[in-house]
């Protein structure tokens, strides 16, 4: 099974890392005072939680990215048969990428690769 090796090494490292954190936490019994738990802000006190509505300034880029990334789904199988199919494969993928590039150019023109 192809997954065995992958899951084994993942499991080993994740378990080891969690164990190290757990043992280290058990080994030190001293507790942090509440005043020590204030998030670091260069000395000033936070007046809000960090977890709140946030204006992520590149949101349009992420939407373009989701649509563009779909093309990867088609490219991997294409790469496998590329040599066997020859010029036809080059032409078809060239067309496909050209179509999608129009989208990127449009997005660039609308300024979505900057902070909105």
């Amino acid at each position: 099974m192809a997954l065995t090796g992958l899951l084994t090494i993942m499991g080993t490292i994740v378990a080891g890392a969690l164990l190290l954190q757990w043992v280290a936490a058990r080994a030190r019994r001293d507790r942090l005072a509440e005043s020590q738990k204030i998030p670091f802000l260069g000395g000033s006190a936070p007046n809000t939680h960090a977890w709140q509505r946030f204006h992520v300034r590149y949101y349009s880029m992420t939407l373009l990215f989701i649509a563009f990334e779909m093309e990867m789904m088609f490219m991997y199988p294409w790469a496998v048969v590329y040599v066997a199919e020859g010029v036809k494969a080059l032409a078809e993928m060239g067309m496909f990428l050209a179509i999608l590039t129009v989208g990127i150019l449009y997005g660039w023109r609308e300024g979505i690769f900057r902070w909105q």
């Binding site: 989701i66 779909m70 088609f74």
Partner: protein, 101 residues
């Protein structure tokens, strides 16, 4: 792992997804329900492809198209949410009442 068990797991995902889609007020959570339903559909499609279709290539293509539908749904869905939020500051389905009046 038989086709029946796979399809039952897929049905469970579709059922949970339907619950989420119908019950959630917030747009983003509603989309999570839709995605979960598509997740079940993809699992069922691959199950059929692998166990009854004998590895017909078009079966895999169907799954890829389902994934593309999901990507399109997400991109356009979020863009619509952004447009609606910008114009009306609404982030729940109840905020949209234009069609009622």
């Amino acid at each position: 792992m038989t086709l029946t068990t796979i399809l039952i797991v897929a049905a469970a995902l579709i059922g949970i997804g339907l619950y989420g889609t119908l019950s959630q007020q917030s747009f983003v959570m509603l989309m999570m329900g839709l995605e979960l339903m598509l997740n079940g559909v993809m699992l069922a499609a691959v199950g059929f492809w692998s166990l009854t279709a004998g590895g017909l290539p078009t079966g895999q293509l169907l799954t890829i198209i389902a994934m593309a539908v999901m990507a399109v749904e997400m991109a356009v869905g979020f863009a619509l949410i952004t447009a609606v939020y910008r114009n009306r500051q609404a982030d729940v389905t109840e905020g949209l009442t234009t069609l009622k009046h």
